[in-house]
């Protein structure tokens, strides 16, 4: 396992906070979508779309969202500049308004004792198995802020956020990984499969999904299972793969309890990671403490620590010392979290 991001991350993650997006983040979020140039594929590149996303977060925080739309947006903020440099989105229940599609990778064994033949075929089933699951998506860190632990901070923040509102989230949480692409940004899997069914290009198909216009998937996608063994080798090898740019992310998520459970993306066959929400590291192993102000001891353990609820949720990584039932954090960190002495914080020790 290669963990390119992990080493610098714990050390410099303190440079950032993660907080819940507010209505007045619309412009900053729109700028992030534009900068991502398609990487935030679920988000249309329009100011209106960004505003709509933030309104949905507001309704969710106010308890006024429907089951289908309830979801949150967490932003990565550079404490020095106050700039928004990354994000992750949480959806409480996917697929309740329009179907959520993916492929499930199954096995079919054909054997004949008479022919002494035994063959195990892998087969892709178009399915909506993940309907009702919670999802993390749109995990993104701006190019110029990478390598500093922002992605890890966002994933841990998401888990701590979920831990604080567990009743709103489903028993299972998923995250889709970008799949393998050729140097020219085409996906070998798309070339071998999707192209024949859609007659539009991959980006075009993804854009329609971003706009919520998913009827075409039902209309055009293969209704029958696809035998993997009949596809070109180049496509087979990318099924359940991960884009090299995010190769470091999967091990982080696996350490937190996500597993590849044989679901892959319908367009690029990228792996979907799944976890039992309650067993996620940040849910099962985080604890609530009362915050204390002070200077943590030299060599004190580092913590992922979150304060505030709902729209006040704010999270960072920082050293902290345990004293009695209190977690002692530096006054600077406390103020950054918008918390004061005696406030309740949720913290997860860095391993």
């Amino acid at each position: 396992m290669s963990l390119p991001e992990q080493v610098p991350l714990s050390a410099s993650a303190g440079r950032f906070i993660v907080r819940v997006a507010r209505a007045d983040d619309a412009a900053a979020f729109h700028a992030l979508v534009i900068e991502a140039d398609g990487a935030l594929e679920r988000h249309a590149e329009s100011p209106e779309a960004s505003r709509a996303t933030l309104e949905r977060v507001e309704r969710s925080l106010a308890g006024k969202a429907s089951d289908a739309e309830r979801g949150y947006l967490l932003l990565l903020e550079d404490c020095a500049s106050g700039e928004v440099v990354g994000c992750v989105q949480l959806v409480c229940s996917i697929g309740l308004d329009q179907p959520f599609y993916d492929y499930r990778l199954g096995k079919i064994v054909h054997s004949s004792s008479r022919l002494k033949s035994y063959r195990c075929h892998e087969v892709l089933y178009l399915c909506n198995d993940l309907t009702g699951c919670s999802e993390l998506h749109s995990l993104y860190v701006r190019r110029d802020a990478r390598g500093l632990g922002g992605a890890a901070l966002l994933t841990k923040a998401a888990q701590l956020f979920i831990a604080g509102r567990l009743a709103e989230f489903a028993p299972r949480t998923i995250i889709e990984m970008h799949g393998v692409r050729d140097p020219d940004d085409t996906s070998p899997f798309w070339e071998a499969v999707g192209r024949h069914f859609f007659k539009v290009d991959q980006r075009g198909a993804e854009r329609l999904v971003a706009q919520g216009r998913k009827a075409f998937i039902a209309e055009l996608m293969p209704k029958h299972p696809v035998y993997l063994s009949l596809l070109p080798e180049s496509a087979q090898s990318t099924v359940g793969g991960i884009h090299p740019d995010i190769a470091g992310l999967a091990p982080l998520l696996e350490q937190d309890g996500f597993h590849f459970e044989n679901h892959v993306d319908i367009f690029d066959a990228g792996m979907v990671l799944e976890a039992h929400t309650r067993t996620l590291n940040g849910v099962a192993n985080s604890r609530e403490f009362l915050a204390g102000a002070g200077e943590p001891a030299d060599g004190a353990q580092r913590w992922w620590v979150a304060a505030g609820e709902g729209e006040g949720f704010c999270m960072t990584a920082a050293p902290g010392s345990l004293a009695a039932d209190r977690l002692i954090l530096s006054p600077d960190i406390l103020s950054r979290l918008g918390a004061s002495t005696g406030a309740s914080v949720r913290a997860l020790g860095t391993a």
Binding site: L115, A192, H196, K199, V200, E219, L230
Partner: protein, 337 residues
């Protein structure tokens, strides 16, 4: 005079030689004297039996000319009997999205038992000389005349598979792309097994889910429903007879399986039963017709000059009548050319 009749044991040597000359295992006839001998015995039983509905019978017809065997053709009363006959149905699936302005047809090959119980015509096997098309056509017409005059022995639907394309090395691109992935044996071996009685391994090994054609390698797509160059005359003959080959292909090599409703096969549709008249004036100048006698174990057919006379009788030569074992006023089945 080209004469067609049920195969008998004394044909074995000539048949074996013809099969051997045609080369390796073939969908027409087994290239194996032992199997051929068994087939002849089965066929003799089938022709001799009283049959009320099609079952496991196999009817083997041979064509002779001047006493020499020049061709043979096998008719299987009920394909796959008593189990299933396997084929790929080339399913058309319409994929339309009004919103995307897309409306196209997808094709998918579905393992199907649709042809089970249909009467199966194997391609005629003809000793390779210049008269091949003539002998092939006569065999096909004779088989259809036999079916027309003995309807209870056969199914309402007729099928006729032709072997699929192979490349210069004798390999089937379709097999390489599909069958080889599902079987642990070679194409030859699979073909041999498939001709056998116990085909339960097909259920065990073949794909249950449809295979999307556009996802296959182009080489495999290109040979789908195509037959080998050597079978193009047979292909044309079946088309002339009204067979269609759009929907079913062979599970091993992707070759076409032709289908026709019995009543739509040309030779059956135009066949007429008329009283026979031996007529000395009939000769080379009259057009040749296929004539058949409507018998079972004494089934005979000839390719002979004949003419429908104004009195409604079918005039032909004494030689033809004698080969048909018919005399004046006996009913003869005539398939006009």
């Amino acid at each position: 005079m080209l004469t067609i009749r049920p195969a008998q044991h004394s044909d074995l040597d000539a048949l074996a030689e013809t099969a051997a000359r045609a080369g390796a295992p073939d969908v027409s006839l087994p290239n194996d004297p032992r199997l051929l001998g068994r087939l002849i015995a089965q066929s003799e039983d089938a022709f001799a039996a009283d049959i009320d509905f099609p079952g496991e019978e196999q009817y083997l017809l041979v064509a002779t000319d001047d006493g020499a065997l020049v061709g043979a053709m096998l008719v299987v009363a009920a394909a796959g009997y008593p189990g299933a006959d396997y084929s790929f149905r080339n399913e058309t699936i319409i994929h339309a999205s009004p919103e995307l302005g897309v409306n196209h047809r997808m094709y998918a090959l579905t393992l199907s038992h649709d042809l089970s119980g249909f009467t199966l015509l194997r391609p005629p096997l003809v000793a390779g000389d210049g008269r091949r098309v003539r002998v092939e056509r006569a065999l096909v017409q004779a088989a259809l005349a036999f079916i027309a005059t003995q309807p209870a022995r056969f199914a309402e639907d007729l099928i006729a598979p032709l072997p699929g394309m192979v490349d210069d090395d004798g390999e089937s691109p379709f097999w390489s792309a599909v069958g080889s992935r599902f079987f642990g044996v070679s194409y030859r071996e699979a073909e041999r097994l498939a001709l056998g009685k116990d085909r339960s391994f097909m259920a065990e090994l073949m794909p249950h889910h449809p295979i999307y054609v556009p996802l296959l390698p182009v080489g495999a797509q290109n040979v789908l429903g195509q037959t080998r160059a050597g079978y193009m005359p047979t292909y044309g003959l079946l088309i002339d007879e009204g067979f269609e080959a759009e929907r079913y292909v062979d599970v091993f090599d992707g070759g076409p399986t032709f289908c026709v409703k019995r009543g739509l096969a040309r030779s059956i549709r135009v066949a007429q039963k008329l009283p026979l008249a031996v007529d000395g004036s009939i000769g080379r100048s009259e057009p040749e017709c296929l004539l058949a006698n409507g018998e079972a174990s004494r089934f005979r057919a000839v390719l002979a000059p004949a003419l429908r006379r104004p009195d409604g009788r079918l005039a032909t030569t004494a030689d033809a009548a004698s080969r048909l074992e018919l005399i004046d006023d006996d009913e003869v089945c005539c398939v006009p050319a």
